[in-house]
Symmetry: D2
Subunit: 267 residues, 4 copies
């Protein structure tokens, strides 16, 4: 059969990215347990993959992306495997650059603050890798829910203060010989809210969480600055992007704040 994709193209345009997206796939992700032991978790993921396409070729071979996914889905993925996968993609598709993003649902056990009862929290996370000629970058991302309690509302009101669920979206990068666990990244974000968010709270826990939030009022600006301080002080991290969005309980719109920083050693 004629291979239309391999026909020559005369428009003289190198394509930066072409591939597949919204491919649903189960993945195995390495995780860190309490005590530092390592095992793995099978997660639900959506894959977005692409390669560059040279000007002389009419099209890429879409089915090869799915075949590569099939090869990698049973391995224990951490950052280092993403690089290997990108090299494989590049080779099997004959391209200069390669890109992959896995958005996945990640569960972590969390204990209630007083009763100590354990339940699972689910976080939207991602691994993103870019191989641009010889330059490899890896990004780790997570969406972390927290509570914010408004300092202005507390200050001006005789009692009470409006508070709400807020979502922190964080994206970081670090050199390939380093490693940051999702468990640690998420924990460092959770502590920056007026209070943390939990799946299971008994009455004694609800009291603790309510009072902690009231003692600890924070604007989205405050949360952002505390996270920025945290990420700036982490020597391993050489790039970060943070967005916090608070689903204001007194409005039908949201408050948000955003920061993006490339440190010196990040080109």
């Amino acid at each position: 059969m004629n291979d239309v994709q391999n026909q020559t193209d005369k428009r003289n345009i190198d394509i930066q990215k072409v591939g597949v997206k919204d491919v649903e796939i189960p993945l195995v992700i390495q995780r860190k347990l309490n005590g530092g032991k390592i095992d793995s978790q099978r997660v639900y993921a959506k894959a977005k993959m692409s390669v560059s396409l040279n000007r002389e070729f009419k099209g890429t071979h879409m089915s090869r992306f799915i075949e590569i996914l099939n090869d990698y889905r049973k391995q224990n993925l951490v950052g280092v495997d993403i690089k290997k996968m990108l090299h494989d993609m590049r080779e099997r598709l004959g391209s200069k650059n390669a890109y992959v993003k896995f958005d996945f649902k990640y569960f972590i056990k969390k204990n209630a603050p007083k009763s100590g009862l354990e339940a699972l929290m689910c976080y939207d996370c991602y691994f993103e890798g870019i191989l641009d000629e010889d330059d490899y970058k890896f990004y780790l991302g997570a969406k972390v829910p927290i509570t914010t309690l408004c300092p202005c509302s507390k200050e001006i009101s005789d009692y009470g203060a409006h508070n709400q669920r807020a979502i922190v979206k964080v994206k970081i990068s670090y050199p390939e010989d380093k490693h940051i666990w999702l468990e640690d990244l998420i924990k460092s974000i959770e502590k920056t809210g007026s209070s943390e968010v939990y799946s299971l709270l008994k009455r004694e826990d609800e009291k603790a969480v309510t009072e902690r939030a009231y003692e600890n009022p924070k604007f989205v600006e405050d949360v952002l600055r505390d996270i920025v301080l945290e990420l700036q002080n982490n020597k391993i991290i050489n790039f970060f992007e943070v967005e916090i969005e608070a689903k204001e309980s007194i409005h039908n719109h949201n408050a948000w704040a955003y920061q993006k920083t490339c440190k010196e050693n990040f080109s």
Copy 2:
């Protein structure tokens, strides 16, 4: 050209609903102004339309739905026009039954509680009409944001109480010789929260809203019961369905409550 849709079908199955959905369209909706005057608002809408299809026909004529939409989109719609439109659909498509739902974005001016400053609130609303042989039913729907403040959290905590944005979804029906304005339905829902939600609040308003919520703690169960009382006591309404969903500020999941009631005169 051969009309495939009019070919006979031998499977012997009457189809209950066949048509188009996610048709984006601007509509003109009648509205009630302060003081009771009536004018209209041009809204963004999504239409879902269908007719029944008799067992002898292979297919319906999809393009006619779009033509009918074109005829009606410039008219000032209220409940009564929906019935006329359904009769038109039935006639032009040669069917026994017809169905239409318009989901639309509806703006209402709202004043802040202390400063009196005016701003627009936007509500997701819908008109839904069913013509089943000679039986016509019209449904009016709205999603109304409110604030809920947790009575348990207030009771057990030395200070503060968690609160959050909650969404009430309400759907009502009433006889075709009666009329209920969206403005009145929405207002009656908004007053059932611990506090109302606003687009624009200055500091004096924020104080009022915060304190009102703290003075007025409510579970989703409380909000639901107050709405049910309100709708039961409204003699015009002969059917209602209510769901309230609170985006808990201390959890990453939601609390919800639901009730559906058909009064005696509703078959």
Copy 3:
């Protein structure tokens, strides 16, 4: 601490449903392998749970839903466990009725039609259970993608025919002493399209799929009728609801068809 939820309520209203929703949780679902063997799959799920609340109580105990989820999430779920879970919910929450719905992402291996290459397909599925006093109902649901090719477009055009991805949403019920596997339900739906949808297709497969669709043109009405015939003829099924929605490639809106049937033995 004071238990506010147990306080008496004077509004005299029994609440039909109150509980939690959008609780993200990993579940273990029993599955049927090729050859009829049974094992299980760990899936990502969202839980929606509720109980009824008697008029004398002010509120339900939300944290108990999460505790019950924790107990059940490690078991191998099939329809029968849902009933047990509902009885547990009712008992631990002191209510007359209980409700649960698990929406989950379910993977099934599928072979390409010619090359036989294997890859995973992911389907949005759900288990839904209702315990209303002594009446128990279980619903099984799935969203199944297929291809539809327009018979009218084929008939009137000198060559080609527009075709598109369509989604079938199917919901069925059957008596509690019977069982239908998701694998079998999904397979029976997939064969009703102009062609099936696959994750991995090589060139020889793409040729087969393209030609099969062209040889087998179908309106949404045709797909609906074929599914209705299939479900009517299945003696085990006593209730079904089907919606098919085609993402028309020549429009920016969708065509849809819908049918709902309760057989005699379903009250």
Copy 4:
């Protein structure tokens, strides 16, 4: 009342963006009619706004964003007003930088290719403006649905070819003394598909659209290259970003291609 926002902050961090998002608002957008006449269209929009916040201030004044929106929502917006609005935001909020994005639903009349029948198409569009000290940038964005028909499927099959709805997302920038109408941008994208997408098609139109797509097979790579050529050749445009995503009718995942280009005169 104490103005908490004006308190000093000691963390020494300038915030890049802080503001409001998901503010639903009706806007008035200038539009170009057939024949070149200009009038305006009232649209449904969602606003995202922010300013920078100097290190010495604890918080911004969220309510002022809503007040500014209220001032601008009745004006006829085109690119030039966005700049004025950003200057206003900066002044009223005492900041160095300002940002605004309006996502809106935009209707354009479109005639069927043979019958000439007219109906409305709705496009997701946006205006985005950034004022960074003295540097002003304006971006115009649109999502445009088209049809793609697979060249490989056509080549290898004895008859037929799979085709599908595809969505082009385009974002462009041009100097502030120039102007490009959404109507012209959208038209230039629509012609790059295998065929265009319409709201209303009678049988003669459906034949024309089907045959045109079959005569004109295109990969996502082909569509991307044709759009890149078009945008490169437009001397007014100094930046563009294009993504095309095809909802493959034979798969349950999508094919995509992406390109981003800054021309010389764009810093």
